[in-house]
Symmetry: D2
Subunit: 243 residues, 4 copies
Amino acid sequence: EAFPALDHGFVRVIDYMGDDGAVVQAARVSYGRGTKKVSEDAGLIRYLMRHWHSTPFEMCEIKYHVKLPIFVARQWIRHRTANVNEYSARYSILDKEFYIPEPEHLSAQSEINRQGRGDVLQGDEAARVLDLLREDSERAYRGYAEMLNQDDQGAALDPNRSGLARELARMNLSLNYYTQWYWKVDLHNLMHFLRLRADSHAQYEIRVYADIMIDILQRWVPMTSEAFRDYRLGGTHLSATGL
Amino acid sequence: EAFPALDHGFVRVIDYMGDDGAVVQAARVSYGRGTKKVSEDAGLIRYLMRHWHSTPFEMCEIKYHVKLPIFVARQWIRHRTANVNEYSARYSILDKEFYIPEPEHLSAQSEINRQGRGDVLQGDEAARVLDLLREDSERAYRGYAEMLNQDDQGAALDPNRSGLARELARMNLSLNYYTQWYWKVDLHNLMHFLRLRADSHAQYEIRVYADIMIDILQRWVPMTSEAFRDYRLGGTHLSATGL
Amino acid sequence: EAFPALDHGFVRVIDYMGDDGAVVQAARVSYGRGTKKVSEDAGLIRYLMRHWHSTPFEMCEIKYHVKLPIFVARQWIRHRTANVNEYSARYSILDKEFYIPEPEHLSAQSEINRQGRGDVLQGDEAARVLDLLREDSERAYRGYAEMLNQDDQGAALDPNRSGLARELARMNLSLNYYTQWYWKVDLHNLMHFLRLRADSHAQYEIRVYADIMIDILQRWVPMTSEAFRDYRLGGTHLSATGL
Amino acid sequence: EAFPALDHGFVRVIDYMGDDGAVVQAARVSYGRGTKKVSEDAGLIRYLMRHWHSTPFEMCEIKYHVKLPIFVARQWIRHRTANVNEYSARYSILDKEFYIPEPEHLSAQSEINRQGRGDVLQGDEAARVLDLLREDSERAYRGYAEMLNQDDQGAALDPNRSGLARELARMNLSLNYYTQWYWKVDLHNLMHFLRLRADSHAQYEIRVYADIMIDILQRWVPMTSEAFRDYRLGGTHLSATGL
Ligand SMILES: Cc1cc2nc3c(=O)[nH]c(=O)nc-3n(C[C@H](O)[C@H](O)[C@H](O)COP(=O)(O)OP(=O)(O)OC[C@H]3O[C@@H](n4cnc5c(N)ncnc54)[C@H](O)[C@@H]3O)c2cc1C
Ligand SMILES: Cc1cc2nc3c(=O)[nH]c(=O)nc-3n(C[C@H](O)[C@H](O)[C@H](O)COP(=O)(O)OP(=O)(O)OC[C@H]3O[C@@H](n4cnc5c(N)ncnc54)[C@H](O)[C@@H]3O)c2cc1C
Ligand SMILES: Cc1cc2nc3c(=O)[nH]c(=O)nc-3n(C[C@H](O)[C@H](O)[C@H](O)COP(=O)(O)OP(=O)(O)OC[C@H]3O[C@@H](n4cnc5c(N)ncnc54)[C@H](O)[C@@H]3O)c2cc1C
Ligand SMILES: Cc1cc2nc3c(=O)[nH]c(=O)nc-3n(C[C@H](O)[C@H](O)[C@H](O)COP(=O)(O)OP(=O)(O)OC[C@H]3O[C@@H](n4cnc5c(N)ncnc54)[C@H](O)[C@@H]3O)c2cc1C
């Protein structure tokens, strides 16, 4: 089952290992002879979350297949505690698929948040932006295909030309083109990713993916997911001086 | 199924994710439109291994329950690319289980390998060593239990004493006492661990565990295991000057 | 300059790279043409800390030489985002140095915190514990030396014996024996370590080291140190439901 | 001192910590009482390299400022064992600087190496490719500036338009545009990076950077550099079956 994201992207779960029970099981390795059992699983999970006892959450693992625009991939890949295999544009030819925002997401630069968006563009300006994005994306692909000297079916456009190496031709494509990868991560670092990328400071386009993954989290590990919402997503941190 | 190791230890597989097919699947994310497929799975796996294209191997994950002497755990934990939850001797009381080597593994310091073993000790010397190890281990536990003020059943030895905190009392135990943990790792870093710890330079006691895990590897991912044996374990590296 | 820790340990700074200025410099890579500069360095550092924008703190690095009891080393090494070289007890002979707590740190198991200490032991019980720790530690080293067949000067105790390999003999030593290592870490992960190990839930003996390192932090990166105290050490986290 | 790379890029060393001496010093932590010293530093470094005893090399650290095309940055960032701060195109406006290959690097797709380059393009085809790359890059920037509604001096092009948010407008730029970052890494993982990226299988454009960094390595840590050339770069690995 692939969850659609943006205009051509998706998130698909390929495999996973462990669930709420595996978190609890690992935490309980610690509690052998001579201890009272923390009686309830959900309570133990909340306790671990609250006290940043994060290693039991590392005992679960999930692997996704994700299709996403390159500029989103560039933000995503900064999370180093994951395993990745990406489609190779040195080896293979990228499809003609690029991201065009919905009109309601075409925002101006924010005046207050220097790294964010403000009001939605209106009328002519919005129309012009959409046209520009579409035209330039189309043109970029035409250049790409011509340099490769290859049509949609992989046949040579001009039998007298050799075609440029793929690893070079791809640099004509713009950052809204889609790529795809397998991405595997443990539950602790997934939540770290989601906390940063489902946040209002994150760019809308990566938030779309993070939100989908939060829904998946809810189904996969409901107890952990609830504790995560309470202590990471929804919580707030008071400084010593703020107390 | 727990594979016994040394006199009281074991290795048990708790869970795993992926197999040879998952390695191949991840590698093939790269090979989309416009490429010839590497036709054979085993061949592709050998190719990845030979060229240190290691990220597809990170797509598999395995989780073990391991019981091992503390001095072995101290070597093992140096491998940072893994996830661990260990039995807590602050929280719980350690069992009276310590490692005593088989006579044939009681070796002298090597004369040539400064970090290894030489000839096996004989006769009186061997007997004396075994006696010392046993006596001192027994005595260490007696001190531990007395400081804790607790008998085997968890009852107070002396009702007028409070008993020392577990986190302090445990420091009386020696490095041959057993601990246990859950240990989870991806296939690439597992092979890195096995290469270093199944090696003749590694201490015999950790090699016992590594050898068991190599057998498990063989059953879990037979193609990867074979490539690993050929290119990592059995191979050799020639320097530029050695060529 | 070595800062003493516990009865035989120490923390010594070997080298470091960068300071508060390096954090700010890295953060400002992001702020090129078309932006207002965050005017003040301390303010920028507080901002980064508050928003968990942690990568600029990774731009500083520090390397220590630490001498510490093995049971403390076992907790410390769990922090994987560091670089370590430890004294080899396979290669070399450990000194006869073991940790004996000050009487005021000889506490009973806590009744309320299952992983901690309660009231300080008194009178006879305290005296008996100290005697036991000292005797057993002494005896462990006698066994070690006898198995090695080596005296303080490295001469054979008995010319007719070969002596047990060091990697085996060391397992007779108890967890309060001292080891030493070089430990190198970046500023972000150092603060993560300090937050967890200077905390009241951490065992007293590792807290002694963390407290020393917090003092060093204050001298090394005063602005970062202040932000750290306010937002990590002294702060508190409110859950969504607690708000 | 900035070492130029490609047409607009560079590599500049910002800071470093440690040198060959620091590697040796860390390795010797292991060799205390009861051992013969490995007498010579260069010999010890070669020994460590040959036996993959890599942790002493982690004791050195280096930090660069790098300017590089985005498609190169996408390959580079896959090396996770490093610390990065990149210029933010959400926050700031990218300069109009894009990579155009020298004619002698405009190669066709290789027939034998599916992930590489073959013969250099000639005559008209080469000219056409260069024109396309230049035109499309220029046009992409025109679209970018128009969407931002900003001229070179940061003044509004049209006072009646708000301008698109930077984080969105940048997606019109192509992968040959330049970005920049601070990149910090330890010596062991630097060599791992250089081994993979100075290799003939790596794309020419990243190899240019790796080659510069190998020259810097030579000046920084001459003994380590020599051992690296002999055992990593120049060496070869024989499989068990190849022996
Ligand atoms: C010629 C060439 C072709 C390539 N082609 C492709 C391709 O088609 N598709 C593709 O996706 N990639 C490709 N790559 C990238 C490659 O798969 C690696 O991502 C990249 O080389 C970084 O290597 P690394 O993981 O060893 O380095 P680092 O990330 O620096 O890691 C070094 C070591 O640290 C450990 N490590 C670090 N982080 C983690 C972690 N989070 N989890 C587990 N272990 C960790 C591992 O042991 C790893 O080997 C290619 C690389 C080269 C050189
Ligand atoms: C009071 C206290 C009690 C504890 N009790 C126990 C116990 O009973 N049993 C027990 O086993 N441990 C216990 N621990 C240890 C604890 O589980 C952690 O191992 C330790 O605190 C290190 O924390 P860390 O993993 O965040 O640090 P680091 O290892 O330095 O990691 C920092 C961050 O880097 C990332 N990271 C680094 N390496 C990896 C990797 N290989 N894979 C994935 N992500 C990685 C993670 O995001 C991690 O949070 C206790 C610790 C404390 C402070
Ligand atoms: C025979 C033998 C003798 C040894 N003797 C000694 C000794 O005398 N003293 C001693 O201290 N140790 C000794 N060791 C331990 C050794 O130095 C390593 O700590 C251990 O082998 C783990 O190897 P690793 O770091 O490659 O593994 P991992 O920690 O699993 O790392 C795998 C790779 O991931 C990357 N990586 C992971 N974490 C980090 C990080 N935090 N920072 C940077 N890169 C990272 C690196 O590229 C690393 O190579 C010995 C090991 C062996 C096998
Ligand atoms: C809203 C927002 C704005 C951002 N703006 C910018 C920007 O302008 N410029 C910019 O460059 N980046 C920016 N970033 C990216 C940010 O700096 C991080 O790179 C990204 O969020 C990944 O976070 P991480 O390092 O905690 O995650 P991971 O890489 O998954 O690491 C998790 C933890 O593991 C440990 N760890 C993992 N790998 C290493 C390693 N190699 N060395 C040491 N510790 C390690 C650390 O403790 C780390 O906190 C932004 C991110 C967000 C969310």
